[in-house]
C-alpha cells in the first residue's frame, strides 16, 4: 500500500489568534508583538501555553496583571520543584524506586527554564512493587489519597496499564496545596526492565529515548489534544534530539511505533517540527490505514468525552501489532483500580470484581450501583 493512501493527521480549522499562538510558541518562534496582546494571552492561557507565549511577548505592552500571573507561575513551579525534590528524597530514604515524570524536569529539558511551562501537579513514577511503601512514606510526608475509602495499595499495584495506572494524593500541611500523582506503569515494560533503566541514571530518571516514548504515549492518551504537551515535545526534540535509531528500536520493541509516528505528525502539523527523513520513512509502515475520527481530538476545542466502547476501540487501534491488541484486550477484562473503588467487597468475595469489571465496561455501573445513561461514559472506565 503506498504511503499516500494511508491515514493522514487531520488539520483542524484555526482562528488567526490560534495561528499566532502556534507560531509564537513553536521552537522556531521568535519574540514578537501582537495587535491585541490581552486577547492573545487569554487564548494562550486557555491552550496551556501562557508562560511561553508571554515570555516571547514580554517586550510588548501586556497588562501588568499578566506579568504577575507569569511570576506567580514561576514561583509555583519553583515551589513544586523543591517539593518534588523533597518527596523523591523521602522515597529514596524508604528504599522506593521512584523518578520524576514531566513537571519541572521537563520544563528544564524543553525550555531550559522552569518558568516557561505551566504545571498543575507533581507526577512521579513508583515501581508497582514499592507502591505500598511509597504511599506509607508519603503519608508521613503529609500526603493522603484524594479519594475517600481508597483502595489498599497492594491491590492498587496489581491494577492498571500504561494508560491508567494513576493514584492522586493531596498535601495536608500548611504550605501551598499540592496535587501529587503516582504512576506505576508508564510504558509497556516489565517492572524489572524499568527499574534497571532508571537505576542506570543518576539521579534515577527515565533515559532520554524512553522519556520521549512516555510523552508520546501521554499525547496519545489525550488524543493529541494537549498543545502544551506537544509544545513540550517539540521544544525538547529541538533542543536535544534523541538518538533516533535507539528510539525507533525501543518503540518497535514496545509496539509504540504507530503512536510515535502519529505524535511526530502532530508536531509537524501544529509546530512545523519535522523528524529526519530516514525516521519518517522508517515509521511509514506503522502508519494506520484508517483510524476512527475520534482518535484525534481538536486541541482548539474542549475535549469531548467518549463512551467506554469508543475509548477502548481507539486504544486498540493505536496498537500496530496483533499481540499488543490481544494483550490490551486481555487486560481490559481484568479488574482495575476504578472497579475496586466503585464497589467495596469483603476480602473473600474478591473474585466478584471480575463481574464488576463487566458491569462497568458495559456502562451499567460507574461509581456504585447507579445506572448510567447509555450515551454517557466515563473517560477512564
Amino acid at each position: 500500500m503506498p504511503a499516500s493512501r494511508r491515514w493522514g493527521f487531520p488539520r483542524f480549522p484555526q482562528t488567526d489568534l490560534d495561528r499566532q499562538i502556534l507560531a509564537l510558541c513553536s521552537p522556531s518562534g521568535a519574540p514578537a508583538t501582537a495587535a491585541d496582546t490581552d486577547a492573545l494571552l487569554a487564548r494562550a492561557e486557555a491552550l496551556g501555553l501562557f508562560p511561553l507565549a508571554f515570555h516571547r511577548l514580554r517586550r510588548s505592552n501586556a497588562h501588568p496583571e499578566w506579568e504577575e500571573r507569569f511570576r506567580a507561575n514561576a514561583a509555583r513551579n519553583l515551589y513544586l520543584h523543591h517539593e518534588q525534590s523533597r518527596l523523591l528524597a523521602e522515597l529514596s530514604a524508604a528504599g522506593v524506586c521512584a523518578a520524576p515524570l514531566k513537571g519541572t524536569a521537563l520544563a528544564e529539558l524543553a525550555y531550559g527554564d522552569l518558568a516557561l511551562r505551566s504545571q498543575v501537579d507533581i507526577d512521579l513514577y513508583v515501581s508497582p512493587r514499592d507502591l505500598p511503601a511509597a504511599l506509607d512514606r508519603l503519608s508521613g510526608a503529609g500526603y493522603h489519597q484524594a479519594v475517600p475509602n481508597a483502595v489498599p495499595a497492594a491491590l492498587l499495584a496489581r491494577t492498571g496499564d500504561e494508560f491508567t495506572s494513576e493514584c492522586q494524593l493531596v498535601s495536608a500541611g500548611d504550605g501551598m496545596p499540592v496535587l501529587l500523582e503516582l504512576h506505576w506503569r508508564i510504558l509497556p515494560l516489565s517492572d524489572q526492565e524499568l527499574r534497571a533503566a532508571l537505576a542506570a541514571q543518576i539521579p534515577p530518571q527515565l533515559p532520554h529515548e524512553m522519556n520521549v516514548l512516555y510523552l508520546c504515549l501521554k499525547a496519545a492518551t489525550q488524543r493529541w489534544s494537549s498543545l502544551k504537551l506537544l509544545a513540550d515535545l517539540a521544544h525538547w526534540l529541538g533542543r536535544q534530539p534523541p538518538n533516533w535509531e535507539r528510539l525507533l528500536g525501543t518503540a518497535g520493541r514496545l509496539g509504540l511505533r504507530r503512536i510515535v509516528c502519529l505524535t511526530l505528525d502532530a508536531l509537524g502539523v501544529y509546530f512545523g517540527v519535522q523528524a529526519p527523513t530516514p525516521v519518517s520513512e522508517a515509521l511509514a509502515s506503522a502508519r494506520p490505514l484508517s483510524l476512527p475520527a475520534a482518535a484525534v481530538a481538536n486541541p482548539f476545542l474542549s475535549l469531548p468525552t467518549l463512551s467506554p466502547a469508543a475509548h477502548h476501540r481507539l486504544r486498540l487501534a493505536l496498537r500496530e501489532r496483533f499481540r499488543d491488541r490481544a494483550r490490551y484486550a486481555a487486560r481490559l477484562l481484568r479488574p482495575t483500580a476504578g472497579d475496586l473503588a466503585a464497589l467495596r467487597l469483603p476480602r473473600g468475595l474478591g473474585f466478584l470484581y471480575w463481574g464488576v469489571r463487566w458491569l462497568r465496561l458495559s456502562g451499567l455501573l460507574k461509581n456504585g450501583w447507579k445506572r448510567q445513561p447509555r450515551s454517557f461514559g466515563a473517560a477512564h472506565p
Binding site: 511570576r71 514561583a75 519553583l78 515551589y79 504550605g175
Partner: protein, 94 residues
C-alpha cells in the same frame, strides 16, 4: 533618611531563589510569599548573597554603575526594606 542596616544579611530560612523567565524569583517555601526582582534588583540580590554586607554591596555597585553612592544606598535600602517586610531576608542577629 535611615542608614543601611549594619551587620550581615542572609536569605530567610525556607527561602529559595532562582533566575526564572529572565528575572530572579524569591520564594518562601513555608509562607508561599514570592517576589520577582528586575535586572538591577537581581544584581543587588546576587551581591547580597555573595557578600552579605550591605556596605560592601554598595561598594561593588558603585564600581559598576554611574550613579552616586547616595542613590545606590537609597535603592538598596528600599529593596532590603521590601524584602524584610515580606520575610525574605534576615539580619544575622535575628
Amino acid at each position: 533618611m535611615t542608614a543601611l542596616p549594619r551587620g550581615r544579611i542572609r536569605p530567610a530560612r525556607d527561602v529559595v531563589f532562582r533566575e526564572l523567565g529572565g528575572e530572579m524569583v524569591l520564594l518562601n517555601l513555608k509562607s508561599g510569599v514570592y517576589f520577582g526582582l528586575n535586572e538591577t534588583g537581581t544584581q543587588m540580590w546576587t551581591l547580597l548573597v555573595e557578600l552579605k554586607d550591605p556596605a560592601r554591596v554598595v561598594d561593588a555597585l558603585e564600581r559598576e554603575y554611574a550613579a552616586s553612592r547616595a542613590q545606590l544606598e537609597g535603592d538598596l535600602r528600599e529593596l532590603l526594606g521590601t524584602l524584610r517586610a515580606k520575610g525574605l531576608i534576615e539580619l544575622d542577629d535575628e
